[in-house]
Structure formats: structure tokens, C-alpha cells
Amino acid sequence: MTLTFNEIPVPKDLTSRIHDAIAKAHVARRRMMVFVGSTFGALSLASMVLLVRTIYTSLEASGFFSYISILFSDGSAYWKEIGLSILDSLPVWGIAAFLAVTTAFIVSTAQVIRNTRKTFITSKIIAWN
């Protein structure tokens, strides 16, 4: 037994309406991602600035700049010891946090750029239709 319902007429513009609805939902989703990406990007940038200041303060307090100065002035004989002191004076957690936040900033910015471009193109297509 084969039931066929092919005589039921399908509205001619149904397919294009569905495509439009999905395209609009796509644009809305991308706009949301641009907003979220921008927010994360701004927060990452602010965090980067704060971390740079914190790292600089830590480096000053730990004597990092002094060791560098010694290394380049008269430290050739004790370069190993000075090198170890330099490494020891580095604010490791601060640097790790800075790298993480920088990565987040780059990823957020890339997301914003990609979604903004696609949103612009899709919006144009919807407008032309």
C-alpha cells in the first residue's frame, strides 16, 4: 500500500521563507557572538593592562632589573648565577596569567572580526531578497 499526498499543494514561497527565517536566526546568533566576543575582548584588554602593571611592579620588587643591569655591565664571570637569579625573580604566575589573557584577547578579536564580516554579508543577502 502506498499513500501519496503529492496532490497537496505546497505554498510556492515556503522554501524561501524558511531560508530567510534561518538566515535571520543566523544573523541574530552572530550578533550575539559579536557582543560576547567584544565583551570578552574588552575585559581581556583591561586585564592585560592591569597585569602588565602588576608584572612590572613585581619585577621591580624582585630585583629583576638590577640583575639585568649587572649581567650587561660586569656579570660575564658570574653569568650562570646571575641568570639563575633572573629566572628566580620572574613573576611566573603573573606572566602565565598575562599569556592566558592575551590568548583570550586574540581569540575574542578573531571571533568578532569573523562574525561581523559574516553578519554583514548575510544581512546584505537578506536585504537583497
Partner: protein, 188 residues
């Protein structure tokens, strides 16, 4: 890309090819509209629901299990969406013949278990009679018959659509055919 299978198109879309979902939509718009229209009987609502169904399928694409068939998943969304609409309209046909466990006491009283004859569908008038009789069946029975006889889905796939075990689907199909035959018997 026209020759891609449904699941290949889904994969292509997930990898960033927007055109893939457009092709997938084009394949099923007509079929889905007719399926929904047959279930709910309202053409303008069927248009809206068809649009909603494709939107839902797009939004939940991340949840689609690539080991299953796209068609089965799409019809499951279509069935659930149609039933939700019918519930809101309070016009769902939970058959007066079925008891609380979905078993039909009416079908049990029927003695003739022969399948429907092909002659039933040979004339336009009979086709209309069959469709009118189909509308009196519960939604699940209509869904099972349409998906099996119109869309060619296997009982296993239909089981995934309606969320019931294979044997239950087969049993419902048989009972639905018996009910149809009983309803159409005066016209044969």
C-alpha cells in the same frame, strides 16, 4: 554537493559550509509540509510549523547524532511539534478505542486481519475516503502509517521518530490498518 547524503551535508555544514544546510532544507520542505498538513489539517498552521521545525532542527544541529539518519531525526521533531500544536488546540485525536495503555479494544474485536486491498487506492474517490478515514485515527497511528507507506521509513526508524519500541510500532501499524479497513469496509 547535490549528490551528498543527508548526513554528509550535515557534516559539511558543521565544518562551515552554509550552503549545505540550504540544500538539506530544499530536499525536505515539500515532504515535511505535506506530513505536517496531514497531521494537523490546517494549511496556514502547517506552513508556520514547517518553518518552526526547520528552525528547531537548525538550532539543535549540535545535538544531532551523526550515527542516526537525518530524515528520522527531522520527522521526530516534526511529529513532536505537530502534537504540541494539536494539544494547544485541544483537538488531538486520542482515540476513543484505545485504553490507557494504548491498546485498542476495538481492533481486538475485529476478526478479519487481511491487509487492505490495492483496489481501495485506485480511484480518486477512494483516495479521499482513505484520507478521511486516516484523520480519524490517533496521531501516532497516522504518523506510523504515513511514515511507513508514504515516506518509506523502516519500522525501526519510525520507532525512533515516535519514541516507541520496534514491536510496539509494528503492532500499532497492524492495528491501524485493521481500523482503517473497518472504517472503509462499507465503501469497498
Amino acid at each position: 554537493m547535490e549528490h551528498y547524503t543527508d548526513n554528509e551535508l550535515v557534516e559539511a555544514y558543521r565544518e562551515g559550509d552554509d550552503e549545505a544546510f540550504t540544500l538539506l532544507t530544499n530536499r525536505y520542505v515539500d515532504i515535511l509540509y505535506r506530513f505536517v498538513y496531514r497531521l494537523i489539517g490546517n494549511p496556514s498552521a502547517a506552513e508556520e510549523l514547517t518553518q518552526d521545525i526547520f528552525l528547531k532542527s537548525w538550532k539543535s544541529l549540535g545535538k544531532f547524532d551523526a550515527t542516526k539518519e537525518w530524515k528520522t531525526w527531522l520527522f521526530a521533531i516534526a511529529r513532536n511539534t505537530s502534537i504540541d500544536w494539536l494539544r494547544k488546540k485541544k483537538s488531538i485525536n486520542f482515540s476513543q478505542f484505545d485504553d490507557s495503555e494504548g491498546e485498542s479494544t476495538f481492533a481486538d474485536t475485529l476478526r478479519d486481519m487481511e491487509p487492505l486491498q490495492h483496489e481501495l487506492f485506485e480511484t480518486k474517490e477512494n483516495e479521499v475516503l482513505v484520507k478521511n478515514a486516516l484523520e480519524t485515527l490517533p496521531v501516532d497511528d497516522q504518523t506510523i502509517i504515513m511514515l511507513h507507506d508514504s515516506e518509506g521509513l523502516t519500522f525501526e526508524a519510525i520507532g525512533e521518530v515516535v519514541g516507541k519500541p520496534l514491536n510496539t510500532v509494528k503492532s500499532k501499524y497492524r492495528r491501524a490498518l485493521v481500523k482503517l479497513k473497518a472504517l472503509l469496509a462499507p465503501n469497498i
